[in-house]
């Protein structure tokens, strides 16, 4: 039963969806503050390379090393996001161009590749990696075994993050302020909220999440370092944020949905069915466009659409 197509696809959907989930959660936080960061791919790659470097260099018990490397990956992502935040918040630069610049700077032909090369990480076997943590008897349970119990700590931690981010956004004062900053920075400013500080903080935290998402590749999925390891996952994460209408809980569903789409063609091949994986993989992107069109009407946009101030710099003197 656990070898049936549906179970295999769902289980690998969770595995492949986890980096998307982390990155998308981070992007939700940044975009809710009004900062569009198209540099997710670059931040993920930096997280992946620095996380893997930590695993290679640090000796000690596996849990500690892994915790440290996730921390380093988060830090690397946050440092990259800080560049973007400085440019778009303080210097009021165009958010699209700055985000793309970040992807070029840190991406597959940029700093992540430079560091991977300079630290001799390419092709090294991992000293530690995330593995299934729950007892084997649980993992052998029908259906839920592989899908829910056969996952690593990174997956369980991501669920906690979803819950935390969702509660933060909807049930705390800070989350309310954050949403005000993203919807109407002028009103938030009048309320006494420091718009720049909120934007900085959430862009940085967003970068940290993207870094952890990258580490999910280099410490769990692949687990290795090679140039451009994330293969465009950062862009899918950006799509996912829209697909999930900027809501963390929907990000969870969407991430596994997108993850399952990546896994399905290969699983079907195992069952002797061949469909062109390329055409199949276009579906998440098409679905995102359709979702975006559906929420384009004025009424739907207010409820489900992008934060109203997304992509716009806030200058107090010019409002």
């Amino acid at each position: 039963m656990n070898n049936s197509l549906v179970v295999v696809v769902l289980a690998s959907g969770v595995l492949y969806g986890t980096p998307l989930l982390y990155a998308a959660l981070g992007e939700v936080l940044a975009e809710r503050s009004g900062v569009l960061n198209l540099g997710v791919e670059g931040m993920m790659l930096m997280g992946a390379v620095m996380g893997f470097w930590t695993v290679e260099r640090l000796s000690g018990p596996t849990p500690l090393v892994l915790a440290a490397s996730v921390g380093v990956a988060a830090l690397a992502g946050a440092v990259m996001a800080a560049i973007h935040a400085f440019l778009v918040v303080t210097l009021r630069a165009n958010q699209i161009v700055s985000g793309l610049a970040l992807t070029i700077f840190a991406g597959a032909a940029g700093l992540s590749s430079y560091l991977g090369n300079d630290l001799h990480l390419s092709g090294k076997p991992p000293h530690h990696q995330f593995q299934e943590v729950l007892p084997a008897s649980w993992q052998n349970l029908p259906v839920v075994g592989p899908i829910i119990f056969g996952q690593s700590l990174l997956v369980y931690a991501s669920w906690a993050c979803v819950a935390l981010v969702a509660l933060y956004l909807t049930r705390t004062r800070l989350g309310l302020n954050l949403r005000a900053v993203g919807e109407s920075p002028a009103a938030a400013d009048a309320m006494g909220v420091n718009v720049s500080r909120y934007r900085y903080a959430h862009t940085l935290v967003g970068g940290a999440f993207a870094g952890v998402g990258g580490a999910a590749f280099s410490l769990s999925i692949t687990p290795q370092w090679e140039d451009g390891l994330t293969q465009g996952a950062g862009w899918i994460a950006i799509a996912l944020v829209i697909f999930a209408f900027w809501r963390p809980t929907l990000c969870l569903l969407g991430a596994y949905f997108f993850g399952a789409f990546t896994a399905l063609p290969f699983a079907l091949q195992g069952h002797g069915v061949t469909i062109a994986p390329e055409l199949f993989q276009t579906l998440p992107y098409v679905a995102t466009i359709v979702a975006l069109v559906l929420v384009s009407s004025r009424a739907a946009r207010l409820r489900f659409g992008a934060p109203a101030a997304l992509g716009l710099p806030y200058v107090r003197e010019e409002r």
Binding site: L91, I96, V97, Y114, L115, L279, Y285
Partner: protein, 358 residues
């Protein structure tokens, strides 16, 4: 410290700021090199030599810069109206697909006709793809940034499907090589675009075409009513509407124009350089995204776009030439990114004045 908007922008700032930005970027990348134990000056010297000075280097730089000029112009055309078409990547692929198809179909026809057919097909392919986000934006007010970005991936995957996973017309299914490893059908000799050599510098047809497009764009935006209206709508859509300008039509026209220019870049890729549909090569190059950066660095000025495309193309070209054990991989991306960061930061000084109050 106070930051206040400049009421008038001195003309010299538009030149000084980019130059200082580029210099600043090299200082910063020099620091990166120093920190990782490479000699900065020697590395830069080798980079410039391989990009612009060495025998034949400049010709290779033109080859690397041509697609960036197209995607840069495509981005500049749209960004001038505050329409953020970041689908140049996909529109270039679309132009490469249609261009290659027409090039193969027209085998046996005289060369000039084939060129014209490929150019028209490339532009049409790019324009058609750009029409999707354009229609969605004009009639459903759907954000064009995301739709155009998503379409990049759709077209990229379709392109890979055509070569790697189907028996399409564009795939080489007859030659021995093509049977071992999937690749695009090679275009006939008639479809190989001409090039001209001046003092050893090879100028491909595509590059000259890009210069023509740049000139046309300059005329369009500074000498025609259409260009004027586009810029008014870009500055204030509401003012444009009150003045009776047809906003929807402008969105459709500008997006399709932008897509057509990127599509020309795709046709030039197949006609000038690759002579087949090469999905992996096109995807790795990231011409579309780099083009946006080129446009921003050129401050959306068409002639500056061509120059900046040659500069970034030169860096890319040098990166390829110097690839090896003693030259740090990824340095080119780092420098390109830093140039952009500095230019974006420098933009502040063009638009604003920084006052230090004591």
């Amino acid at each position: 410290m106070r930051i206040e908007r400049r009421l008038r922008q001195p003309w010299w700032l538009a030149v000084v700021v980019p130059v200082v930005s580029i210099a600043g970027a090299f200082v910063l990348s020099g620091l990166v090199l120093l920190l990782t134990g490479y000699p900065p000056l020697r590395s830069f010297h080798r980079l410039f030599d391989a990009a612009f000075i060495a025998n034949g280097a400049l010709s290779d730089t033109v080859v690397a810069g041509t697609p960036l000029a197209f995607t840069g112009l495509a981005a500049a055309v749209a960004f001038r109206m505050n329409i953020f078409n970041i689908g140049g990547e996909g529109q270039l692929y679309a132009g490469a697909i249609t261009g290659a198809t027409v090039g193969l179909l027209m085998a046996g026809t005289p060369s000039p006709l084939v060129f014209a057919g490929m150019i028209a097909a490339g532009a049409a392919g790019g324009a058609l793809l750009a029409a999707i986000p354009a229609v969605l934006r004009a009639f459903f007010s759907t954000n064009e940034i995301i739709t155009s970005l998503m379409l990049n991936y759709v077209v990229a995957l379709v392109m890979e499907y055509l070569i790697f996973d189907s028996q399409s017309y564009l795939r080489d299914t007859s030659s021995f090589q093509g049977k071992v490893f999937p690749q695009g059908k090679t275009l006939p000799a008639e479809a190989t675009w001409s090039s001209w050599t001046i003092h050893g510098l090879v100028l491909p047809l595509g590059f000259l075409l890009a210069i023509v497009v740049a000139a046309l764009m300059w005329v369009l935006y500074s000498r025609t009513r259409f260009g004027f209206e586009v810029q008014v709508i870009g500055d204030s859509a509401r003012a444009g509407r009150y003045a009776g300008m047809r906003t929807r039509r402008k969105i459709l026209a500008v997006m399709c124009l932008s897509g057509a220019i990127a599509g020309l870049g795709g046709a030039s890729q197949t006609g000038d350089f690759r002579h087949q549909l090469d999905p992996r090569g096109l995807r790795q190059a990231n011409y579309g995204y780099t083009g946006i950066v080129v446009a921003a660095l050129a401050r959306y000025n068409p002639f500056a776009v061509v120059l900046v495309a040659l500069l970034l193309g030169g860096l890319t070209n040098a990166g390829f030439t110097l690839q090896g054990a003693d030259f740090p991989a990824g340095l080119v991306g780092v420098i390109q990114g830093l140039i952009l960061f500095c230019a974006l930061g420098g933009e502040l000084f063009v638009r604003y004045r920084v006052r230090f109050a004591w």
